[in-house]
Symmetry: C2
Subunit: 200 residues, 2 copies
Amino acid sequence: MFTVHGKSDSGNCYKVRLALEQLGVPYRWVEVDSTKGETQSAAFLAKNPNGKVPTLELEDGGFLPESNAILHYLAEGTPLLPKDRLGRARALQWMFFEQYSHEPYIAVARFILYYLPPDSPRRAELPRLQERGYKALAVMEQHLAREPFFAAGAYSIADIALFAYTHCAADGGFDLARTPAIVDWIARVRGQPRFVPLPA
Amino acid sequence: MFTVHGKSDSGNCYKVRLALEQLGVPYRWVEVDSTKGETQSAAFLAKNPNGKVPTLELEDGGFLPESNAILHYLAEGTPLLPKDRLGRARALQWMFFEQYSHEPYIAVARFILYYLPPDSPRRAELPRLQERGYKALAVMEQHLAREPFFAAGAYSIADIALFAYTHCAADGGFDLARTPAIVDWIARVRGQPRFVPLPA
């Protein structure tokens, strides 16, 4: 059985939970609180030298880090990964977009507003994070105005990867009323079989 | 035939050139200078709404952005992508590591020192970029002290993705003499069949 080493209210960790639930794959969950330094312990660094959650413990005792690599591993051979070469590349296109152009702004804004005290000096980063985050949302909005999902016309791990921090973007101060196609897509993702919400 | 819309001295664009050359796939190259705003023109944004190079123009006229998604698309069914499920996930693990934990520090430090004038205020970012970049190099060094390549024991697109900005890390002020296993790996990558260097 798989074991997920993760922080339940992290969007990157939620991606793995949502995929496992939707695929009906049994798993154990070990809570690791990165905000308390638990990803920097010698024991955790032996699992993932990059010191990040989620990290998937495989049945043979190996460890696989990086949320979107875990999604791809879990989804191969299932309906969550497109069947054709270009469809798979499109899923990865949006998953790399998520990690480079979306998460570093939208997830980090949420982190600052959600986890840090109101007088944190990191609030000075928010204007830049808002500007870049809204740019990522605009790219998504343009796509979703024409297509129901991100890759190959069907729900896939690209939607899971982007849903994780988009649906809770308000936690980072983003107003999704500006992007109605994203709001509709969020409802479509919530309506997928075996959907589970981000734990509070 | 594929057309690469790219900036020749960008590491992200070089990844695509190196893979195409090593696979023996013919292509055209259209130079796009992002430092002159050419990725923000209406004509370019119609190709990639996220306004970044490289963007691969497919034979059917479609466009595929994101360097690492392009690598995966080109490598499917070739020796550059591992044959087994876990090997493919390991390649993606390192490619997501590259885009999240490596490129934003090592490539950005290079950009500041290589493209911007010596009195650029962005030089104030360098201490943080150096700290994070050396952390990424340490994670790579630990892996390469035990393994010849990043995924499944053989040269793959994970090596191409990480080589692009690692081999020229000195441009960003990084001293690779501190990481001898990386220096040895760089020599192994340079020794691969059909290797081409980053254009000057």
